[in-house]
């Protein structure tokens, strides 16, 4: 892997993100909705924790992550610049990884704005710091997994809307697998639950960072990006 290529692709994508209104709109809506969930129960319960946000964000990100990632490959494929990019001496995975990193950084910036809520809590009461730190690490991992799935969705088609729907469906299914115990008999339910993004997030958000949960997210990210670069290499699109 040639990091100067990854970095060139990454910086180009960052420039595109912050040069277009799309990124700002997605960030603004994200903050608006997460802010609403934060204040919803804060004063009613009068408890200093972020649980209301941590409960809902892994599901909300199912919509926000594809909105960030949908353009990454599809747009270039449609405008023809992908042909230019792929005839440069670059590896498919370097391009995919650079694009993923850019989307991830945009997401991390959005998430950084929610630290305002943490500051608010610190001013109002004495929140437990452990679960909050763990929750943020969990959100980064979970969002990263959705974004990687989003990159895969984007690599499969030249239509951004199709890319959005594909990634939304895959991420959505992985997110709701956490409820498998309600509909599936026990032995199978455990397995399905283990595949769930939200299940692993709930584990982490309790304040314990288990290597199994981290490995799960990293595997989802790695596999999605691998398949995305495969899709790119085959030059076949939906």
């Amino acid at each position: 892997m040639n990091w100067s290529i990854v970095s060139a692709v990454y910086r180009k994508e960052i420039k595109s993100y912050f040069g277009s209104p799309m990124a700002y709109i997605v960030l603004a809506v994200f903050l608006l909705i997460s802010g609403w969930f934060f204040t919803l129960n804060l004063f009613k319960e009068n408890l200093a924790h972020l649980r209301s946000i941590f409960d809902i964000l892994p599901f909300l990100l199912v919509i926000f992550a594809p909105a960030i990632s949908m353009r990454l490959v599809s747009e270039e494929r449609k405008s023809g610049t992908m042909e230019l990019l792929m005839t440069m001496p670059v590896r498919d995975f370097e391009v995919i990884f650079g694009k993923f990193l850019a989307a991830f950084v945009l997401f991390a910036v959005g998430l950084a704005f929610t630290l305002v809520y943490v500051v608010t809590l610190l001013m109002l009461g004495k929140p437990e710091i452990g679960p909050i730190v763990a929750g943020y690490i969990g959100l980064l991992l979970c969002g990263g997994a959705y974004l990687a799935i989003g990159v895969l969705g984007s690599a499969l088609t030249e239509n951004q809307i199709v890319a959005f729907i594909l990634s939304f469906l895959i991420s959505g299914i992985l997110a709701v697998f956490v409820f498998s115990a309600m509909v599936i008999p026990p032995p199978l339910a455990d397995l399905v639950q283990y595949l769930s993004t939200t299940y692993h997030f709930q584990n982490i958000a309790r304040g314990v960072i288990d290597s199994r949960d981290v490995i799960y997210y990293l595997s989802v990210i790695f596999l999605s990006l691998l398949y995305a670069s495969r899709a790119l290499a085959q030059r076949k699109f939906l």
Partner: protein, 321 residues
Amino acid sequence: MIHIENLKKYYGAFPAVDGISFDVARGEILGFLGPNGAGKTTTMKVITGYYPPTGGVVTVDGLDVVENSLETRQMIGYLPESNPLYHDLTVLEYLELIAELRQIPKERRHARIKEMAAITGILDRLGQPISQLSKGYRQRVGLAQAMLHDPKLLILDEPTIGLDPNQIVEIRSLIKEIGREKTVILSTHILPEVQATCDRVVIIHHGKLVADGTPEELQAKFVGQPVVDLEVRGEGADDLDAWRGVRGVEKVERLKNLELEEVHLRLFLSQGTDARAELFHLCVEKGWTLLGLNRQIQSLEDIFHQLTQIDPAREAEEAAA
């Protein structure tokens, strides 16, 4: 420099390129001709490593474009037909990005960008967003992109499309200039472009190679019937039988009948004859005024037309019948 052997590329069951073979020597400017949909662009996409071939071998400087893709891609400068550009970047940002992707050493990047911008005449546009450039300037940016890393091989897919006549002349002389040191493959269906710039011509049609040679060789090989156009004024000059009597004339056709007993004629001669001297003497003899005498040379256009008229589907039908 390039060796193509029995290259095949299928889109599903459709053969876009169906077993073509040719070589391109170092320093040659090759005109790659064919009607729309003949397989030119597909062939170029295989050479540049964008599409994997269905069958056959393509090597650039001895390296296989599939096995050693990264190395061959680094040797090639490519201007795709649609000239894709990142419209949200400025010209300078765009060329900087290309320089990074091409792994041009950091200390040489800016000098190289300046140099190419000067050659392609976009120095004063470096700060402008690409979305604001006219089509001609975008084409120049595309050319600067293709040449930025000083490639051994330059592949240009219809580089003059959409340019105005002045720009076409400029770009052509630029390509000729580049072609002194580099190998160039130039795809086009504009035939004067080939005659103006190329050392050699390859014509493909329906995915198959139909001609390969210098423009002169092709002209010699595909000579049709010699034709002489004639403009004569004089009493009785419109009597076609008088012309048929000249040795070598097989057929006479009246092109235009003008007033004052002036005629335009087209004379078809038998193979290997040149009846111009006899025609002149006939005019002198009859007292006609010879206004024009012009032997038609088979142009590249005629050859192209002749070679790419055949429809394989119809040919197969005829063979079956």
